[in-house]
């Protein structure tokens, strides 16, 4: 599904990603861990198509197509979804209107008619109950005045509505209390199928207790320095990142 080869990216002359290689297949969950500043968020932004970063080398293939030249919206149409670490507040646009626009733009790109209002509403209700959300939430301005937990829930709600093939969850666990973490993780798990994949980007192990990864990769100084199964995450939790830094500092 996703093949990243020797990816180098920089911003304002500073190289952040220095040769990333990663392959994600349908049905898999990959966790990307690493200390602050290792390039985790950059990697997710580059996959989703943020224009601030310049890719100087390497390629990103998604479903057999090089997506590096595609705009963020075109990547979304192909099935890439990024759950933001810091979702943007947009006063004046309600959650409903935002989702309606997003879904119908997606459908338009796929040559489909707009989703009738009643079907859209029904789907929204279903997905909201999955995430234990209050329906008053639909008429609120997008992310405006939302608590950290509400913002993250809203991200997963959007993911549930847009049904991406590849979901990248960028630090979805940061700022969440235990209950919210459980609800969000349950939501993600229920949305998993054999055809879609998830990349979980996190600093800590705790989210991975709920969303169990098939592979864990450790990112350090813009490179994946170690890959393993879920036990690698436990090891990191126990020992911290320093032993890896020492191991790879050669």
């Amino acid at each position: 599904m996703l093949k990243i080869k020797n990816l180098h990216a920089h911003i304002e002359g500073k190289e952040i990603l220095r040769g990333i290689n990663l392959e994600v297949k349908p049905g898999e969950v990959h966790a990307i861990m690493g200390p602050n500043g290792s390039g985790k968020s950059t990697l997710s932004s580059v996959i989703a198509g943020r224009e601030d970063y310049e890719v100087s080398q390497g390629e990103i293939d998604f479903e057999g197509e090089d997506i590096l030249d595609l705009e963020a919206d075109e990547r979304a149409h192909k099935g890439v979804f990024l759950s933001f670490q810091y979702p943007v507040e947009i006063p004046g646009v309600t959650v409903t209107n935002f989702l309606k626009t997003a879904i119908n733009e997606m459908r338009k790109a796929q040559g489909l008619e707009p989703l009738p209002a009643n079907k859209l509403l029904k789907k929204m209700r279903e997905k909201m109950s999955l995430l234990e959300m209050d329906k008053g939430f639909l008429s609120r301005s997008l992310n405006e005045g939302f608590s950290g937990g509400e913002k993250k829930r809203n991200e997963i709600f959007q993911m549930a509505m847009l049904e991406p093939k590849l979901a990248i969850l960028d630090e979805t666990d940061s700022g969440l209390d235990i209950d919210a973490l459980r609800v969000v993780a349950n939501g993600v798990n229920k949305l998993r199928t054999k055809d879609n994949a998830v990349i979980v980007i996190t600093h800590y192990q705790r989210l991975l207790d709920h969303i169990v990864p098939d592979y864990v990769h450790v990112l350090h100084q813009g490179k994946i320095v170690k890959s393993g199964d879920k036990n690698l995450a436990l090891q990191l939790e126990e020992k911290g990142y320093d032993w890896l830094k020492a191991e790879t500092a050669v």
Binding site: G49, A72, H77, I90, V93, T101, A102, A109, L162
Partner: protein, 450 residues
């Protein structure tokens, strides 16, 4: 005027000359009315104009707006012949799903068959019939609200003859909104018109009014409109100006409002069209406990020039005013906002808020924004803020990452930005129409409203 190039000076003088000769013709046609007290006011106004001339960029109030190119065409002051108009062609300019009173003027002449007037519980009729029928009203109100220092409203006063007259009597509520529409049809000529409106809400009266000027001509049209509004004790008024004329039309709107105790007035100014728009909106608070809401949305593109000059004059204590103007400027469009708030020494407990936010979409677009608060009382709450910015790139990426293409994402953000400018629009059809006009200006088709 010595600083002007001879040719430009000639052009401005040319229109002044035309107005001078037209005024003589106008007086000759008045017959007996020429000796009325009303006409004396016209004459005095014309003398003021002759003395002041047209404003230039040297005038503080016209620093950012150059009137010269607007005055350049060889305007006719009176329509040559009376032009007929086909309703099918102008239907779209009406709020037609709405049961309403209508005052429609074509080339400065009242069109009775397009209008729906009443004298029943209140007067919704013409300025000219007010002058003949209700001389007491004319004497009491005519030219009592407009400041004498503005030369363009003086021109209007000098030629004041036709327009809307609305008087809602004590304790009456206008049961339907009132639409004012002014069409200019003149083909083959450049025309300057001087619509004159008088609106009086007596004690505890209520009305909702919309105003629109529309040129159907392919030639330059200059509308120099003046509206005087008196809101007496406890009166309630919503007034919406839709400024969406064609790209050859220029509008100078002089509106003055006088508010008495406990009256509540909202004025919305929605500027999307025209080549040139200048709004002079003056609000005089004469008694305590009034509320005034002033909202504006301007969306300019190409070489449009949209200028809002507002004044809220807090002369007495305990009044509330709240002003919110939003501007979006694309291409080489230019916006001006000058919001003056005067709080006089006795006007304690004044609450005055002002906000002007702008987004510039290109390097060639520009805004001059100047909040001007003069506060001479010490126990007041006043605030103002103006911002000029670009679209938030982080928000753009967020929307695009959800599959919303660049153009739609941009429009969505601009919609959201402008949305609170519609906070006081209570007529659903007008809201819908304004939404459509904003969407059209932003070249998008979003299937929801703000």
């Amino acid at each position: 005027m010595t600083g002007l190039k001879p040719k430009q000076q000639y052009k401005m003088e040319a229109l002044k000359d035309t107005l001078e000769s037209s005024f003589i013709v106008f007086e000759n046609d008045l017959n007996g009315e020429a000796h009325s007290p009303i006409h004396k006011i016209r004459q005095q106004a014309f003398q003021r104009f002759e003395k002041m001339g047209f404003p230039t960029k040297r005038d503080e109030e016209w620093k950012y707006t150059n009137l010269k190119p607007i005055l350049k065409p060889n305007f006719r002051i009176f329509p040559g012949t009376e032009n007929s108009i086909d309703f099918a062609h102008i239907k779209k300019y009406f709020l037609s799903d709405l049961d309403s009173y209508k005052l429609v003027f074509v080339d400065g002449v009242f069109s009775s068959w397009l209008s729906e007037t009443t004298h029943d519980k209140f007067d919704i009729c013409t300025f000219s019939s007010m002058l003949t029928k209700y001389q007491d009203v004319a004497t009491r109100y005519f030219n009592q609200a407009l400041p004498e220092s503005e030369s363009l409203s003086a021109v209007n006063t000098a030629f004041a003859k036709e327009g809307a007259f609305i008087r809602i009597k004590k304790n009456k509520v206008a049961d339907k909104p009132i639409q004012l529409l002014f069409f200019t049809t003149e083909h083959g000529h450049e025309v300057m018109t001087q619509p004159r409106n008088l609106i009086v809400l007596e004690e505890n009266a209520e009305a909702v009014i919309t105003e629109r000027h529309q040129s159907l001509s392919e030639h330059p049209v200059l509308t120099n409109s003046a509206t005087e509004i008196f809101a007496h004790k406890n009166a309630r008024l919503q007034y919406y100006k839709v400024q969406n004329d064609n790209d050859q039309a220029s509008l100078i709107d002089n509106t003055s409002l006088v508010q008495y105790g406990h009256s509540n007035v909202g004025i919305g100014t929605f500027s999307f069209g025209n080549k040139f728009i200048r709004n002079n909106l003056n609000i005089f608070l004469r008694e305590e406990h009034t509320e005034t809401m002033m909202d504006g949305i301007s969306v300019g593109s190409h070489k449009q020039h949209i200028d809002h000059h507002t004044l809220v004059d807090h002369k007495v204590p305990n009044c509330y005013s709240n002003e919110l103007y939003k501007g979006i400027y694309d291409d080489a469009a230019k916006g001006v906002f000058n919001g003056k708030v005067m709080v006089h020494p006795h006007a304690q407990k004044t609450n005055a808020f002002q906000q002007n936010n702008n987004i510039l979409l290109t390097d060639r677009s520009s805004v001059d924004t100047k909040p001007q608060l003069e506060i001479y009382a010490d126990d007041v709450q006043c605030s103002h803020g103006c911002t000029i910015g670009q679209l938030d790139e982080e928000a753009m990426f967020y929307l695009k990452s959800r599959g919303i293409p660049e153009k739609e994402a941009k429009a969505l953000l601009l919609y959201a930005f402008a949305s609170d400018g519609l906070r006081n629009v209570k007529i659903a059809e007008l809201r819908k129409k304004l939404n459509r006009q904003i969407a059209k200006k932003l070249h998008v088709n979003l299937d929801f409203e703000i």
